[in-house]
């Protein structure tokens, strides 16, 4: 039987997951200094609540959401605020950050008392999710309470849980599904209580067969009304548009949200965070990060506090075997390359990659071969957009649906002329918006 997938476009990069998919999640030791950015989510940055010299305790709020689309930030440790300074994150966002020096003795008695979420109303659950600063952990870091607030009159047919992890190299979600299936499932049940969907589907790509089996067994044991759906491997299946097409055969029109086709998509990592927030009252101040790449001595998956510096993570993973050509935050297809080893990780950092110099190719003129058109999952014409943008015709590019582009990278990945298509689209979007 053929497995489900989305139809239009997509590419098949080698998944490179063997580097770290056998490594159990380890708890990362508390580093000497944490740099916690106030812009860990999509939307307005949080407001700093602390001043240098203040003592903070683990889980205490240090940043206050500053708008409708914004999220609170919490301290991952007991410690002292040493400084408030500007920090540049891997995605080039520059914002305020709270620098915390952790105490030598940490209070580890927190978050052990279980709350029965069935006794909570859905408003209480949403309030709890907001209070604990939960954001989507798949990469876009959209505040979860905003996503899960369904306006009256709207109905959710499908709650789709994203366990696809289609980016090469990354194994954080995979390990989480293997090691914490019960927590993920309970997190999903919490979401179900809020959203009341007709169907609940977990979409997982076929290269994670062990995770599919683990979750299926756990669902059977608990008798939850959740369906696990194995999907054929294809990038970018983890994008909500492609995932909904693959799992429910519905297409989100341009500029619309999943809710417009009666669906909500939540990442497995987010359901785990929601479980911890609602059941144990634990704010989102740590996450699973994959430290991997050919240049890392011991690729691994760790659960690390938000604000840990990349240098500490790399040192934990045994350092570099060879000097990497690029450091990437996130996956290789959509992640951001950065150069500063002191860049801290944020809520959305699913992985840190150190990749060597891939055999470099020379750029040539566009051959109009059509690879990019065939690869584009959104039905755009990347080569045409590229020509328009490089000639400064931004408005015309916008008319050719440039804003539909999600920068998934399929076009650049398959371009034989090695054109920087995605780079041009990022530029074009900025210039097009200006006008």
């Amino acid at each position: 039987m053929g497995l489900a997938t989305f139809r239009k476009g997509g590419v098949h990069p080698s998944d490179m997951k063997y580097l770290s998919n056998k490594q159990p999640i380890e708890r990362f030791p508390i580093p000497e200094e944490l740099v916690i950015s106030m812009s860990q989510h999509l939307g307005a940055p949080a407001t700093v609540l602390k001043a240098p010299g203040d003592h903070v305790s683990r889980g205490e709020r240090i940043g206050q959401a500053s708008g409708f689309i914004s999220a609170d930030v919490h301290s991952p440790v007991d410690g002292t605020v040493t400084e408030i300074r500007k920090v540049t994150m891997a995605n080039s966002v520059c914002c305020d950050a709270v620098v915390i020096k952790p105490d030598e003795v940490q209070n580890d008695k927190l978050y052990t008392k279980k709350i029965d979420y069935n006794s909570l109303s859905s408003e209480q659950i949403l309030a709890e999710i907001k209070d604990k600063g939960i954001v989507g952990l798949g990469g876009a870091t959209f505040p979860a309470h905003v996503k899960m607030t369904i306006s009256p009159g709207r109905r959710v047919d499908n709650l789709v849980i994203n366990g696809v992890e289609c980016e090469p190299y990354l194994t954080a979600d995979h390990r989480l599904m293997l090691e914490h299936p019960m927590e993920i499932l309970e997190g999903i049940m919490v979401c179900r209580k809020v959203l009341d969907p007709a169907n609940t589907i977990i979409g997982i790509e076929a290269n994670k067969g062990d995770a599919i089996e683990t979750l299926r067994a756990a669902i059977e044991k608990r008798g939850y009304p959740i369906k696990v759906m194995p999907l054929k491997m294809k990038y970018p299946q983890g994008d909500e548009k492609q995932l909904l097409k693959a799992t429910t055969n519905r297409e989100i029109p341009s500029g619309k949200l999943p809710l417009d086709v009666g669906a909500v998509v939540v990442n497995v990592g987010t359901t785990y965070a929601i479980f911890n927030a609602v059941v144990y009252g634990k704010p989102l101040f740590e996450r699973v990060v994959t430290i991997t790449g050919e240049c890392i001595a011991k690729p691994c998956n760790v659960i690390a506090p938000i604000g840990t510096k990349v240098s500490d993570l790399v040192a934990y993973a045994g350092g570099f075997t060879t000097e990497p050509d690029k450091l990437v935050s996130g996956g290789p297809m959509m992640g951001f390359s950065f150069f500063d080893m002191d860049t801290p990780i944020a809520k959305g950092t699913s992985g840190i990659l150190a990749i060597p110099d891939k055999k470099s190719y020379r750029q040539t003129a566009c051959l109009s071969c059509g690879s990019c058109v065939a690869a584009c999952p959104l039905g755009l014409q990347p080569t045409r957009l590229y020509a328009l943008i490089t000639n400064g015709r931004y408005e015309e590019a916008m008319k050719n649906n440039l804003m539909d582009c999600k920068e998934c990278g399929c076009c650049s990945f398959s371009c034989p002329a090695h054109l920087d298509l995605v780079h041009a689209f990022k530029t074009g979007k900025k210039m097009g918006r200006k006008k």
Binding site: F336, Q381, H418
Partner: protein, 350 residues
């Protein structure tokens, strides 16, 4: 030093030169057959075509201060020019064709990727209409002649001449060829006896047929094309629609010029003669000059098939593959303007 760049930080590994050298490799078996069938003279024509393409590319690169030899496109053009020449061609003609292909058809429009016509076809068309008689005289392959360099018309032009003479009412092309004393090779005759296939078609399939150096061996061209299919360098859209439409039209209407009537066209005979197979797999599929969408490629293939049939069966020239492809090259930008991929989300949600 660590590099910082926009995503993606991962690449499939294909490159322009990689594609071009693969295409060149895929055409090599057919070239080797050409040299085997027509002797070292054919090799000389191929070498001269390739060398003049490369030299022209290099010299133009000196002027524009860019070195584009390594991308392999000039090599492919050179091979195609040579493959489209008769083995007995005077040697200055492939030189002119090559210079025209690279300098006029490609570089005046902005070099690789900017040309509107397939350079090799443009070069061939230029010399074809300049030196028609030299371009139309062919020699018999090794298997059909006891001595070297026996000139002969191609089966296509033999039939064309006979049909134009008007004395062939109701005869199939096989009968016309037999009447004109066209021979089949011993091997093909033996196979024909054993299998019941037409001996002329077997010869044409193997490559024992007078014609251009690279177009004669259909089986080796198909072998090369299969390699390109496997490498995903060409897709089925153009070759299949091209050959399919041509075969269909030939079957329905191809018998009319011979006075045979509808549905009496000789599909296999016409498909295997001339440059159709080479054109469909290696010239129509040129990335630069064919549409970028798969839908557009299908339209392009249908157009090529239609015009090839029209010119071959009802035109004055015996061979018209390259003219048909050239014509569709002109239409390509228009196809690309109107045929756009369907935007995601435009289908009504079920």
């Amino acid at each position: 030093m660590r590099r910082v760049s926009s995503s993606p930080h991962f690449h499939s590994g294909v490159s322009t030169s990689n594609i071009m050298f693969s295409v060149a490799a895929a055409m090599t078996p057919a070239c080797i057959w050409g040299v085997y069938a027509f002797g070292l003279r054919a090799l000389l024509v191929l070498v001269i075509s390739i060398a003049s393409c490369l030299l022209t590319e290099y010299l133009l690169g000196l002027i524009s201060k860019e070195n584009t030899l390594w991308d392999g496109s000039a090599l492919v053009t050179g091979m195609l020019v040579g493959m489209n020449m008769s083995p007995s061609i005077p040697l200055f003609i492939p030189v002119i064709a090559s210079v025209f292909a690279i300098a006029v058809a490609k570089w005046t429009f902005g070099g690789l990727g900017a040309n509107w016509a397939n350079p090799a076809i443009a070069g061939r068309a230029f010399v074809f209409f300049s030196f028609s008689s030299a371009m139309s005289s062919f020699t018999l392959p090794r298997a059909l002649s006891a001595v070297d360099v026996v000139s002969s018309a191609t089966p296509l032009s033999m039939v064309k001449t006979a049909v134009a003479g008007g004395e062939v009412a109701g005869m199939t092309s096989t009968q016309i060829l037999a009447q004109n004393g066209y021979m089949a090779s011993d091997l093909a005759t033996k196979i024909a006896k054993a299998t019941g296939f037409n001996a002329y078609n077997i010869d044409a399939f193997i490559g024992n047929i007078p014609g251009c150096i690279g177009e004669v061996s259909k089986i080796l061209i198909i072998v090369g094309a299969i390699y390109l299919f496997c490498r995903k360098i060409i897709t089925w859209h153009i070759p299949l629609t091209y050959l399919g439409v041509y075969a269909l039209l030939t079957w329905i209407f191809g018998g009319i010029p011979n006075g045979l009537g509808f549905f009496r066209g000789e599909v296999m005979a016409n498909m295997l003669r001339g440059g159709l197979i080479l054109g469909a797999f290696f010239m129509a599929t040129d990335m630069v000059t064919c549409p970028i969408t798969h839908k557009g490629m299908v339209i392009f293939g249908i157009g090529c098939g239609f015009f090839t049939f029209l010119f071959r069966s009802f035109g004055s020239l015996p061979e018209s593959t390259s003219v048909a492809i050239l014509l569709m090259n002109i239409v390509t930008p228009t196809i690309d303007r109107f045929v756009k991929p369907k935007r995601f989300g435009e289908e009504v949600a079920k």
